[in-house]
Amino acid sequence: MAFLIPCPNCGERGVTEFRFGGEVNPRPAPSASSDEWTSYFYRRGNTSGLQTEWWYHRYGCRKWFLAKRDTTTNQVTETRWP
């Protein structure tokens, strides 16, 4: 993996500076059913194509942000603050 990610704070940097935080996965309300919680824990969309996901600029500004990445090409089309 060698693609570039434009950090909203630091600009374009190599992927090895970042930690992947997984696809965005909304957390159920505390009162949600156990099925919803199970789904939150274990089920992922595993999209082929554009996916919104969390990234953390570990060796940079140490900020979490959201990135839209094409999972088939690793092209990051958009990054923004949550």
Partner: protein, 976 residues
Amino acid sequence: MALTQNGNRLPPRPGEAIDRSHAVSFTYNGRGIRAFAGDTVASALYASGVTILSRSFKYHRPRGLLCAAGRCPNCLVTVDGVPNVRACTTPVREGMAVRSQNAWPSVDTDALNVIDKFDFAMPVGFYYKTFHQPKLMWHIAQPIIRRLGGLGAVDITADPESHYHHDNRHADVAVAGGGPAGLSAAIAAASAGAKVVLVDDQPSLGGHLRFDPSRHADVPGLKAGKGPELAAQLTEAVRASSRIQVIAGTVFGVYQDNLVAVLTRDSVIKLRAKRLIVATGSNEVPHVFENNDLPGVMLSTAAVRLAYLYGVKPGRKAVVACGDDYGYRAALALQGAGVKIAAVVDARGGFPASMSEAQALRDSGVRVLNGYVVIRAEGPKHLSAVSLCHLREGVPLTEELRLDCDLLATSGAFEPAAGLLHQSGGRFAFDEALGEMLPSDLPRGVLVTGEVTGIRDLRANILQGRVAGLDAASSFHVLSYEVRQDLARLRHDLAEALAAYRAHTTRSSPIADMPGKKRFVCFCEDVTVKDVAQAVDEGFADIQSLKRYSTVTMGPCQGKMCHRSFVHLCAAKTGQSVQKTGSTTLRPPLAPVPLGALAGHLHTPIKRTPVDKRSRDMGARMTDLGPWRRAHVFSNPEEEALAIRQRVGIIDVTSLGKLDVRGKDCGALLDKVYTNKMSDLQAGRIRYGLMCADSGTILDDGTVSRLALDHFFVTTTTGNVEAIEEWVRWWTAGTNMCAHVNNVTAAYAAINLAGPKARDTLRKLTDMDISADSFKYMRFGQGHVAGVPAILLRIGFVGETGWEIHFPAEYGEHVWDALLNAGEEFGIIPCGLEAQRILRLEKKHIIVNQDTDSVTTPLEADMEWAVKFDKEDFVGRGGIRAVKERGIRNKVVGFVMRDGLVPEDGDPVVMGGSPIGRVTSSRFSPALRKGVGIAYVPADYAEEGRELLISINGRTEPATVTLKPFYDPEGERLRA
């Protein structure tokens, strides 16, 4: 052998790479070899009469210099114990020890060459076919074949420490290749303002110009001159530019978004470029005929290189075989270097009368044979003659012509060195007119220039280079009006040059279907035309599966010598067009890369505390704890533990993770990430915190101190702080709370001062009121200790009156010394990690990740008291609640042995001979004089006084469950 020890050096010539005033000597198989500075191992050996450099992979056939450019597998040797080094690009160094490999008893007379006679036993794909009946046969044959075949041997006793380092570079424009096109591109890009990094793998810049003796008058922007003079002009312009950086190395990979991987002599460079210009030129490739691997048969560029770069006579009497104009130039060059040309053999039917070099050659009396091809080289160990046959309309006739010679220079077969374009995702199309696969579709950010485009014309290549350089720079710099005018003119000139080149270029097809045995397509793995044909007959007609079955293009040259012949041969055998046949996929690495270079340094940073040196000076034995180095034991862990129980001791706990959390919402944030409530903590107080994942499993624990309404000081377990910092920051980002988390672990030193005499010791160093009534357990204070500003946490991991003193790390040794001095009268001693582990175990305090694992929830850890379900929401609530509803299966319990027996961490808890749980920590308790520990057992065992059986060294020993701390169960000493 035709060549002798001393007669092979030519007279000095301007532009040569060697320095004849500087002698270098080294050994080859123990024999002394004299060379000059600037020689390569191969040129020095060839000058000394060594023409057999290696033995082939499978048949152990003698192999000599073929490409002399670091492409082919023929000159792999072992240098100073490092196997598979290319002799032809490795500069000589004084005293280096070079050895040949894969031969017995010697590379000159290799007894294993007998395998050559048994080739019928090793047809293509033999490992699927032969030696399989009976079944046992393969098990006997395979290790022998493994031993006989192959390359050099790795010295496993050598020092494993890699001497390679890794380096990151950035450039606007990266140029791969330092030939005329690459240099021109670099100069043009830099002139337009771009920061350029140029990578070239040859000993000096200039590419083929360095050994091109012909005079070039019509090169735009350069003064007329011979090749080396033009190379010098270009090199000078590159050196003069402050924007161009030159790296001597090999580009072995291109990855996404133009990450260019470069291997140098001692490093791997990760070069990130906005634009990549591929100017890798072309590789000359061997002709295919019988015995085409015989020493003495080499590529024409190799022969010319030897003569012009290294002043080595490649042979006495040469035949030059060619299929295009380049052969005449090579022949003229060799003649100019003093090699007698026996004949030029041109596969094309007509003499190229319009070519001045060809005319000059013929006028000098050289025999030119048009419409002939070489069908056989004759040996046995070095070339002594070649047999030719006449072609009529591409079909070989039976009549033969035999010429005596000791050098056959083959020319006219080139292939674009397009590996980097393959890797970066470029597409290729077969150009019928030029007879080559040429780049047709380039990926974003990649440009291509020079001979890699199939155009082998100096004027055109230099124009291409300039255009590419300006194009690359223009994609992120605004070009000035003058430069744009210049670019337009260059484009126009280039279009004309390309049209002219195409108009007069004809190339012959590389393979006429000729007779003969042992016609090698692949030199790396000894694959012949017959092998490939047989594989096609067996059904492997598709180029990709044919590659995998026959292993052609899969050896050390990675297709650089064989790919073109292979594709054409496959096309001919299957009756498909070359375009339809396609090509194999070239993947990184483009050239062999030592594993040590990829690994880089054994780089494991160690974090040392501010009292690391002091501890070692005091005799501490050190140990690793996560990334930290900690004092393990100073004197004796049990004595150290007793000192804290009875008197006073200090422990360096700097490695504890420390987070500074501030902001309006910091209370809410900590409520979210900890299972217990933090927002109602009063300023000045401390609370134990347990952190879980949403699934309910324990992540971390530590203390939370409220410094102010909007300011907390949080500690985490050693080595976990980076992960916890990221975790807390993630929840901050995800919930949009106004809170700021700062990792201050290394900024603060921390010393735990504990024991009945801790207060007396501390009182001497601080003006704070530390009496039991005013500085209570689970409170903290801010003040000075030994004059240093500090935060003092009154907590009790070890179970005695004590303070965890956090202060700026710079004062580590000062405070450490001050505490030891102040406590001297009370018998203070420094204590290590082992004593701390004993003391905490006596208090039955768990260590996250030691006594818990990745599925342990607070319920299993017997810490439900730290979980506040009445909070609105917190991370882990859903998971812990689900476990609570389901009921727990296992639980963490304490146990006491009957006597001083101590199980090992990890020993099984058994029932009826089967394991039902495990010991997670255990130590001998100096306070109880018994073995104590923590075990993970089925939940129904978690009853005070229940008996457990623990298997220690195969013997089952009884232990008693206890749910309270073993020592001071009510915590009176802690609060004292």
